[in-house]
């Protein structure tokens, strides 16, 4: 690092990169709307592929997400899907996780430079997507073999039953999502872990949503809506913390937003035409493909950091191209799945409607 000072580069924006960002935002938004919150996981790697350092990609992604989360939370609150109290309690502890995670990230930046954050974000991505993608895929296989009625009857997990039975005086609050009293003490690790993950890869929902469902016993639809409250609270905090470090690129965040808000509505409308297991399948496939793409960048980062013998530049470049290609494939798969599900669903729906209209005329 020259003179002890450090240059943090924002990417050069020209018409091509702007259009790519808008398109990536569009696909990311579609995936996000389709699988619920958490679709932003395709956006961080895409921004890094365009040349943004890991810390800038995460910070800008968080910045584009939090006002969107607020708008989403307000909307879904109207349908009674949001447990505001639970969201705020978890949000407070998530904030602590974000603050801690930001310290880890800036610590890495100050010690190893921006490329250190590239490696850190990539490794966190690979670990998280492997775990979550694996679980989602397992869930998909289970759901696929169940009838609709059986799917509705899936009850509380044993863990959630136990958590709801624990009464610690002075720490209890009523969660209307879980329809039970819960102890704040359980919220500390869940919130903290959610915030920490958000600060590392810009997607905290991977922990928050499953934790609410399987540990606290909140129904899935309320968990994903309540997560929006957490995402807003920790996103606002995260943007301020990262903004103070000078790493929020508002141009990149707003270009992603431009595409993403168009996409998110298509994705959300798409879900009304498909079955739950199809959504799970899409989610697993995209996650595992994105994970796979990140592997190809790691040797380059390790070489730059001096953690391994640097590979020849041409090899690093070829690996990067393969990584870019795999990521592009993931985005394409995501877009294709959502749009084809939507079109097929709309066609069938129209057909059924016209048949029932004919039948009622015949009656």
């Amino acid at each position: 690092m020259e003179h002890g000072m450090e240059l943090i580069n924002f990417i050069d924006l020209n018409v091509t990169t702007a259009i790519i960002l808008i398109l990536v935002g569009f696909v990311g938004g579609m995936v996000s709307g389709f699988i619920g919150s958490g679709g932003a996981f395709v956006l961080t790697p895409a921004m890094m592929t365009l040349g943004a350092p890991g810390i800038v990609a995460v910070a800008s992604n968080i910045c584009h997400k939090f006002p969107k989360a607020l708008v989403g939370a307000v909307k879904r609150n109207k349908y009674g899907q949001v447990d505001v109290k639970l969201g705020l309690v978890l949000g407070v502890f998530a904030e602590a996780g974000v603050l801690f995670g930001k310290h880890v990230m800036t610590g890495i930046k100050n010690t190893f430079g921006a490329v250190g954050t590239d490696l850190y974000v990539s490794i966190m991505f690979i670990i998280t997507l492997a775990i979550v993608g694996g679980f989602v895929f397992k869930d998909y296989r289970k759901l696929k073999n169940m009838s609709d009625e059986e799917q509705d009857q899936v009850g509380l997990t044993k863990l959630a039953q136990w958590v709801q039975s624990v009464k610690i005086p002075g720490t209890m609050f009523y969660s209307h999502g879980a329809k039970s009293e819960l102890s704040v003490l359980f919220m500390v690790p869940i919130g903290f872990a959610t915030g920490f993950l958000a600060s590392a890869i810009a997607v905290g929902g991977f922990i928050g949503v499953p934790a609410m469902i399987y540990i606290l016993g909140v129904p899935a639809i309320m968990a994903s809506a309540t997560e929006l409250v957490i995402a807003f609270v920790m996103g606002l905090g995260g943007t301020i913390f990262y903004g103070l470090e000078g790493v929020v690129d508002i141009r990149m965040a707003m270009l992603i937003l431009l595409g993403s808000l168009f996409g998110i509505q298509i994705g959300a409308i798409g879900t009304t035409y498909v079955k739950d297991y199809q959504v799970k399948f899409t989610m697993a496939v995209i996650m595992l493909t994105v994970l796979f793409s990140r592997f190809f960048y790691v040797p380059g980062y390790l070489g730059k950091l001096g953690m391994m013998e640097p590979l020849p530049d041409s090899t690093v470049q070829i690996l990067k191209w393969i990584g870019d290609g795999v990521l592009f494939l993931a985005l394409f798969l995501g877009a294709f799945t959502v749009i084809s599900a939507l079109l097929k669903g709309m066609r069938e729906h129209k057909k059924r409607q016209s048949v029932s209209a004919r039948n009622s005329v015949a009656d």
């Binding site: 002890g4 000072m5 301020i240 470090e245 509505q265 298509i266």
Partner: protein, 108 residues
């Protein structure tokens, strides 16, 4: 006025406002970048047509590099936040109305 004309009007209104905000963001992009880079102490060094901003700057280090030392102003952090809120609101309304007008609707 018919219902479809009213909703078309609303699409155009929110779309126009969104376009205006985006135009402002990119017209003043350099200023926004300046704000982002100077929430903490920074060193601005002219590099060709662009300005490079260095973090972890002190006036001595910056002087050696031939740059201009800038004292950080923490509350600049609210500039991107304000814009993000404004754009999420206007653009969110616009896209919702847009798909409605186009005829893409959720299954009832």
């Amino acid at each position: 006025m018919t219902a479809s004309q009213t909703s078309l009007g609303r699409v155009l209104f929110w779309g126009g406002l969104t376009a205006l905000l985006y135009a402002a963001l990119f017209h003043y992009a350099d200023s926004f970048l300046h704000l982002a880079h100077t929430t903490q102490d920074a060193c601005a060094v002219q590099s060709g047509m662009t300005v490079d901003y260095y973090n972890k700057a002190t006036s001595e280090l910056c002087g050696e590099k031939g740059g201009t030392f800038i004292d950080g102003t923490w509350w600049y952090v609210f500039a991107p936040i304000a814009l993000a809120f404004a754009l999420s609101y206007t653009h969110g309304l616009f896209t919702g109305l847009f798909w409605d007008v186009v005829g893409l609707k959720a299954k009832k």
